[in-house]
Symmetry: C3
Subunit: 244 residues, 3 copies
């Protein structure tokens, strides 16, 4: 029998998706060039309205016109290095939730140092993979999501593991980045960052399951994942959820 926490995650996923489709929240995303198009399409598929400008001279306007911020460190070019701290400062001032995706901090000491500086600014959520999390110190106030074959989400007190999702997701670029963008969408409308993160990853994982059943390979998997997110309904979420 499912625990109350598991039942809450499933119900929250259903509720949050309905709110997103109704309210169409605006979310600003600072992400790498590989991930931009697919992240925007993942966000649009559930009903959110993404913006992705990098320009430091307008970034405060854009953060101010949106309800959550996503910061991804992949392919960090000089302009995002300038714009990211400005965007985070704006999000903090406006009390907007924000998520950090510290892409490949295991590959470069300089990128890791930049990530640590951003973590000190207090993201609502950090999402990363197993290689990356080894480089980061636990932050007690931040929800931590480590995704992989099983996605682990914890806020220090609560913890859920999500087993949905397909091995094909490891063969399509920017799936982790797109998951972070989707968490940003759920953060925009759900005040509990732990629940928002778990709900977003459950929705993403279930859509991955649905897409994998139809896909012939990683190429057709990606558009089918977008379709599945767009079509995701309460019954599929309840039936397919593999949360513990």
């Amino acid at each position: 029998m499912a625990s109350p926490l598991v039942e809450e995650v499933v119900a929250r996923t259903q509720r949050d998706l309905a709110i997103i489709r109704e309210e169409r929240p605006r979310v600003h995303v600072l992400t790498n060039f590989v991930a931009m198009n697919v992240s925007a399409n993942v966000m649009l598929a559930v009903g959110a309205v993404p913006s992705m400008t990098i320009d430091d001279t307008v970034i405060e306007d854009f953060v101010g016109s949106t309800r959550a911020l996503v910061v991804n460190l992949g392919q960090l070019d000089p302009w995002r290095k300038i714009s990211v701290p400005i965007a985070i400062a704006a999000a903090r001032k406006l009390q907007r939730p924000w998520i950090l995706d510290p892409v490949k901090v295991d590959r470069s000491g300089r990128r890791l140092a930049f990530a640590h500086m951003l973590i000190d600014a207090g993201p609502s959520v950090i999402r990363c993979n197993r290689d990356e999390v080894g480089m980061l110190e636990g932050e007690s106030d931040t929800v931590l999501a480590v995704t992989g074959e099983i996605d682990h989400v914890t806020d220090g007190e609560r913890r859920v593991d999500i087993a949905n999702g397909s091995p094909l997701m490891d063969r399509v670029t920017a799936m982790g980045c797109a998951a972070s963008a989707l968490i940003g969408v759920f953060l925009a409308i759900d005040e509990d960052p732990f629940m928002a993160t778990a709900a977003a990853l459950l929705a993403f994982g279930i859509a991955g399951d649905v897409a994998a059943e139809k896909a012939q390979g990683p190429g057709t998997f990606q558009p089918l994942l977008i379709d599945a997110l767009h079509a995701l309904d309460d019954a599929s979420i309840a039936e397919r959820a593999r949360v513990s």
Copy 2:
């Protein structure tokens, strides 16, 4: 019964597509990172040859080697802020048509100010959505296309409304940007910017109708839209056009 103007738009769409497929015009596009790949594929699907360099040191070479210019203000980074005025100056000097897509000028006063400066340089066409057009003042010499559920195209004297297209287009990123890129292709081979704009939007809308009939959602819609543009023939254009 269709008015002479409507009949002319339909015939022009058929004629222009045939010319594009025959001549394979080169068109230079300065656009945002989210839109680049899909815009290039939309252009290639009808037979055009896109180039997209941002580099200010070679931008005049590229504008000089192409027949029309597309300027899109999404995700304006510092290098496009430098290259855009150089590219526009080159297009003016060479008397090449150019189109402006003032993405999200309703979100930032600074971006709006930049857009106004570019509008003063006299684009052949401005394409935007309803939120954006409210920020722009009417320019009598410029063709204005406001796209949405119905696309409105006017040059101050003539006006057509195009009802083709699918609601799924609102759930796929960069569809408006890709429409602007396609208008750039038609501008390259059609001397009448009003007709070129109406023809491009009619072709794009009809391809959207065809794709929506086969798509399972916004993910599969996008590749099917490219296929439909590639396969678009005179009979489909004549039968499916919903122009008034």
Copy 3:
């Protein structure tokens, strides 16, 4: 009857693909924004792990953590102009193979001059199209691949022609760039740059043949190409190879 060289290319394609799938080599790619996503997906489809950062302050870390380097000159922005020479110097110092894709050097004298400077640094392979190769002088130490309807690969002594591939590849953006990225993957695990290049282009061409049989147009062709690369097996390679 197939020549020994042709038989060797076919066998090498089978062998190299098996090694890539087993070892999952990391490859760093400096490429244009249009090509990034599709190049990454092509690389992941065969099992490689791409990284694509542009940042000059971490580029040596990334080149150091990968086994081959891909340098593509499309949409050369100022940061890649800075990072490319640093990345190449790092690859040379670490004796990593690297490939140059001199995109559209026929369109700009400045870009051509930059390409010549990079060629002087001694790439393992240059891949380009017919328009571009006319601008480049023969480099005796470098494998040269000129792709098109027929792909020609030579190292000055050996030469093969590969007739696989579909005309649809000319209607999808960044197919040449993705081919260069795939050559980078084969270079990472095959010490003979001529064989690595021929094997990568044969795998890519055969996947194109498979995809074209199922595709309805250039839009559906692209995801099907990724699927075909992912599923490519020894029997298909042996049966479909059109090498001379």
